[in-house]
């Protein structure tokens, strides 16, 4: 059976299995209808021109995760920012692991989406926010909405500075047969509040480290995250995508910002077979700041596609997009950055940069800025570079005794440095630096 048919027939079973109130049922039903009409996106669609799901969809995915896989903390400790105390919401192959998690309801809610969806206590919040900013038109988002059940729910009331970062962790073991998971996250950050969130997708079978072919089963994750930043809220969001070669990730993130809020989404794409990031920002108020940063370092036949949208619908707001990519072997990258400035959005500052290094003749990057500007008093810019490593700089470092491989790594580190510097959690910064060093195959000669 084709995956689409399988999903459609599973939907009935899924709805029966859980007892939902009628509003949620309606949302799900119309979502599955949209998916049924549209199906999985194909390369014929302009927005999927460079990314094909065909090969992945041929897998016979199981669409409901099985029981909890037991994993001990010591085995996965290194994936957490374990030097400091954090809230944790941990999923293994799509199933919540209460044992590894550290949730809370004290002052803030850091808990399970399923809890929020089905407990009457949260109904009002769900009615007000669930599926309110996520697209009702985009088929993969609809598919996720139809099956939305599990994920992270974070609700920070107004005037609250959340002292500990929140880690949302999606582990995949690759143990089970081909698995499709659809996490759904809802994050609401109240007026004048501040929160730091780390979302990580991590395969536990690190076959790539020793260069052996992966034995793990394929995984397809179709994730949707809705983030609501109220007035003057500050949200620092970090996405670490460090899956193995058998894992595929479609990440749909929708950010709704109110007046004077500041939201940064930093996406670190280091792994996976195919990764597609649909990152969308919508403005509802003035003096809003949106930051979209990305570092992509991939090789082999990996594919990462960043598809961003910033919708400037209000005056006096700014957005900054800064994406850097390093591509080796036969890897391919896509950056499609859309900036839409509506007629009323005067005094908009919208900037976009995409800088790329190709380390191999066989690596490819497709970069496409898309600016649609209807206001006449705005500052907008976009720029894209594709290059190789600076040979003079290589020679300079080598002449000081630094071997080629290390010199290359230092240069690439330098290339991505500005974005690494923008990481506001020191322990995370260190972690990312280490992952980068590992990707580049060197031990940095110093602690950073």
């Amino acid at each position: 059976m084709e995956l689409k048919e399988k999903l459609l027939s599973s939907f009935m079973a899924f709805e029966e299995q859980i007892d939902v109130h009628s509003e949620l049922h309606d949302v799900r039903t119309s979502a599955i209808k949209n998916f049924e009409n549209k199906g999985f996106p194909t390369k014929k669609e302009e927005s999927w021109k460079y990314t094909s799901l065909n090969a992945i969809l041929k897998n016979d995915f199981t669409v409901f995760p099985k029981n909890e896989n037991s994993i001990e903390f010591k085995d996965v400790k290194k994936y957490f920012i374990h030097e400091i105390d954090t809230y944790k919401i941990v999923f293994i192959d799509g199933v919540f692991s209460s044992f590894l998690s550290s949730t809370t309801h004290e002052g803030i809610d850091v808990c399970l989406m399923s809890l929020a969806l089905y407990k009457p206590k949260y109904k009002m919040v769900i009615d007000n926010y669930f599926n309110k900013i996520a697209s009702k038109d985009e088929s993969l988002t609809s598919l996720n909405t139809a099956f939305a059940n599990e994920g992270a729910y974070i609700n920070v009331p107004k005037s609250t500075v959340v002292r500990k970062p929140i880690e949302i962790m999606y582990f995949s073991t690759g143990n089970e047969a081909a698995l499709m998971v659809q996490p759904r996250n809802l994050i609401i950050v109240g007026e004048n509040s501040h929160v730091q969130i780390i979302e990580r997708h991590q395969s536990l079978n690190e076959t790539r480290a020793n260069g052996e072919l992966s034995e793990a089963n394929p995984v397809l994750t179709n994730s949707v995250t809705e983030i609501f930043a109220q007035k003057r809220a500050i949200v620092d969001y970090y996405k670490i995508q460090n899956d193995g070669l058998e894992a595929n990730l479609i990440d749909n993130t929708y950010v709704s910002q109110k007046q004077e809020s500041n939201v940064s989404v930093n996406t670190f794409s280091f792994g996976g077979n195919l990764t597609r990031n649909n990152l969308n920002f919508y403005h509802f108020g003035e003096r809003i700041v949106s930051n979209l940063n990305g570092i992509t370092i991939i090789g082999e036949k990996q594919h990462v596609d960043h598809y961003t949208l910033v919708q400037h619908s209000t005056p006096n707001c700014e957005s900054h997009q800064d994406y850097k990519g390093i591509y080796s072997d036969r890897s391919t990258g896509v950056f499609n950055g859309k900036i839409f400035v509506e007629k009323v959005a005067q005094k908009t500052n919208a900037f976009q940069k995409s800088n790329n290094i190709l380390l191999s003749d066989k690596a490819t990057i497709n970069a496409k800025p898309q600016l649609e500007i209807f206001a006449d008093d705005v500052k907008c810019s976009h720029g894209c570079t594709v290059g190789q490593l600076d040979e003079t700089a290589m020679f300079y470092m080598q002449s000081r005794g630094i071997p080629k491989k290390e010199a290359k790594a230092l240069l690439m580190y330098a290339f991505s440095n500005a974005l690494i510097e923008s990481i506001k959690i020191p322990e995370l910064k260190q972690r990312i630096t280490k992952i980068i060093a590992m990707k580049l195959g060197v031990k940095m000669g110093f602690d950073l």
Partner: protein, 248 residues
């Protein structure tokens, strides 16, 4: 120490060095002068191992070993140092971290233990004082936003840290004001010993007032056309390069 025999080199189809012979012994300072385009920077880049140039003929020996096939870092590990005319900016890597990496890689290549952190700090302090470098400067990104003078001073600081056998200073005087020139020259002179050697590449005689050479060579059109003592530098200053051009 350094022995260059009949060195020919080209970039693309263009032959730049056309048979260079040069002998440099430990304890000596050699100056290589010459007009623009004579091949001075090419010669220094080739000794340091820049792979953009192709050695078509001849050899480069360091302490009797042919180094012309070695990678730049391998030459560095054997004690070759090139101070760049245009040092490269490396954002995100501090001077200190860069030096620590360079020193430990060199030690590793020479089968030595890594330098302990406290010793590293001590050496850094000593050498930065020698070059009158502010400590704050050391935590800044390498060469990023440095003035011309700061970049050159930083090059000599690196030389002091790495203690090379053979140091080649490529136009170290360009972009330096008189005070910086004095500091840099003073640093170089203090680093000079009877165990190492220095090749100073320069356009003008000015630097040679501070770093006094034992030998002066004039490079013109890819060949050393004249060699002599330090008085040759004065003669050049007086007569200009047209004098050389006319003779060749």
């Amino acid at each position: 120490m350094l022995s260059i025999k009949n060195l020919h080199a080209s970039i693309g189809d263009k032959e730049i060095l056309k048979g260079i012979n040069l002998e440099v012994n430990a304890g000596e300072i050699h100056a290589i002068m010459g007009p623009n385009g004579a091949g001075k920077s090419t010669l220094s880049a080739i000794i340091a191992g820049n792979e953009n140039y192709k050695v078509t003929e001849g050899e480069i020996f360091l302490d009797g070993e042919d180094i012309s096939e070695l990678a730049p870092e391998e030459r560095a590990h054997k004690g070759v140092f090139l101070s760049f005319q245009y040092p490269v900016e490396i954002p995100g890597v501090s001077v200190t971290n860069f030096m620590r990496t360079a020193i430990n890689e060199t030690r590793k290549a020479n089968k030595l233990e890594e330098m302990p952190a406290n010793e590293m700090l001590k050496v850094i302090r000593e050498k930065s004082e020698l070059l009158e470098i502010d400590r704050k400067f050391l935590s800044r990104s390498l060469n990023e936003g440095f003035s011309g003078g700061e970049k050159k001073r930083n090059e000599i600081f690196q030389m002091a840290m790495l203690e090379p056998k053979l140091a080649i200073l490529d136009e170290t005087d360009s972009g330096l004001d008189i005070d910086a020139l004095r500091i840099v020259a003073n640093g170089v002179n203090k680093l000079k010993s009877d165990k190492n050697a220095i090749i100073v590449i320069t356009h003008y005689q000015r630097l040679l007032d501070y770093i006094v050479p034992d030998f002066v060579h004039v490079l013109y059109n890819g060949k050393i056309v004249k060699s002599g003592g330090k008085e040759l530098a004065y003669e050049l200053e007086e007569k200009g390069y047209d004098w050389i051009k006319a003779e060749n």
